[in-house]
Symmetry: C2
Subunit: 240 residues, 2 copies
DNA sequence: ACAACCGACTGGTCAGACCACTTGACCACC
DNA sequence: GGTGGTCAAGTGGTCTGACCAGTCGGTTGT
């Protein structure tokens, strides 16, 4: 018996999603005014405070601009949106946006080594010890999803060791986008299960405080996954 | 007579800032419940809808968790916050957080070359032409702030050329944090004004589609600024 | 032609009420 | 001792209707 928590979504949540999707899909052109709060409330059959909560949250993400006395207008998300929008761009209208997914994989492969280098400079043996603990756990994992979660834990430690708030925040944003997709991705990444050596080598480089080696080792950790995922995305693209 | 635009901040805005600061400063411990909406409204002397708008916006950033029927609790921003929070972390309680600033500079120097490499692969001569236009404009600029704004425009083009939504969003977040500080930083970066050669070399590498050269050229573009800023931060740290 | 004005419309705020949900205490039962 | 039922208090969710505070565009008077 597989029970799932029931989801109860608030009215404001639904408005938030609906308007956000319309903005991202381009149904509302950039610069175009949204209907007034009163009108939205009437059309949607809800109260104005509920509409306002949704609009204020959207304004918080930077996708619309609310001006007292004037109309609320749509902004260009390519210049206005921040990394927090990534999860919503990655999975849209039910499906996975392959262009966004490619971009995530690229960024992961590009930024990861830099994090590893910083962690090697700053983490020291204490960090290496924690990393090895995770690697040992990975050695015992057989489920691909479980494996990937441990890999995320590994990177979490690495990001901590880098002692960089910017990388920490980047990682959080990427993880938020990446983690929900894990179950769906599990099968694709089954081949990687058991390949602990690259992770161990990276931990060794961290212990030695060798930034250059850590950078190279991180690349070897990330490349297989990146290639597997990009190949899978190509396959999806072909069958369409 | 130097007049500045008057700032009219809405009640909800003020509550938003106040609660956010309390969370970031750790005055509200992680896991701790916030006062109830009714209580907050009473204490602050405002209406409940105004409080709600503020809390919902904070929840949107991930810093608190609102549960129907239960208390609203504080989350750990180190694991819950995304890159959008960066501007608020960079300038806090009036001053610049030097640790955050260091991190921004580091990340900029680390991520920039990757963007340049992608742009070289994908941008081609068309992008290079646009870049050269900006470089020419930089050649005529004498004001440090103006110079830095042109440099941002240059990077904006490069990010466009990289055709990566993730880098685009990262850049937006970093720019949002960086740009407001520009006037204050202007003087520190005066020495860089006129050094257009690195920018021109990078544009050439983009025209040639040479990713490796572009990567190296980007490093040469970024390093002087990074070193100047880090030195300035050291000076600030010393005088305290 | 121009400036001042004014009305219609927009977002901002308030008050008070009721609904939906969580929590914890208490109690009856097995 | 553990189970489940019940209930009250407190919390967030929503609604209504009103008024305040800005913006905008047309009208009016010069």
């Amino acid at each position: 018996m597989a029970l799932r928590p029931v989801t109860r979504r608030s009215v404001a949540d639904q408005v938030f999603d609906q308007v956000l999707d319309d903005v991202l899909d381009g149904e509302l052109a950039v610069g175009e005014p949204l209907p007034s709060e009163r009108r939205l409330a009437e059309v949607l059959g809800i109260s104005r405070p509920a509409v306002r909560e949704a609009l204020q949250r959207i304004a918080q993400t930077g996708l619309v601009e609310v001006r007292h006395g004037g109309a609320t207008t749509v902004r260009d998300f390519r210049t206005a949106a921040g990394l927090d929008l990534l999860p919503r761009l990655l999975v849209r209208t039910g499906g996975l946006d392959t262009a966004v997914a490619r971009s995530v994989i690229e960024a992961r492969a590009e930024v990861g080594p830099g994090i590893a280098a910083l962690a090697a400079q700053r983490g020291g043996p204490a960090l290496a010890h924690q990393l090895i603990d995770v690697v040992d756990a990975m050695g015992g994992a057989t489920d691909p999803v479980r494996w990937q979660q441990l890999a995320l834990d590994y990177w979490d430690l690495l990001v901590d060791g880098a002692e960089s708030i910017v990388y920490r925040l980047m990682f959080n944003s990427l993880r938020t986008a990446y983690e929900p997709a894990l179950p769906a991705l599990g099968a694709l990444l089954a081949a990687e299960v058991g390949q602990v050596e690259p992770y161990r080598l990276l931990a060794d480089a961290v212990r030695a405080g060798d930034a250059a080696t850590a950078r190279a080792a991180a690349a070897r950790v990330l490349t297989p996954t990146a290639e597997a995922l990009l190949a899978a995305l190509d396959a999806i693209g072909d069958e369409r």
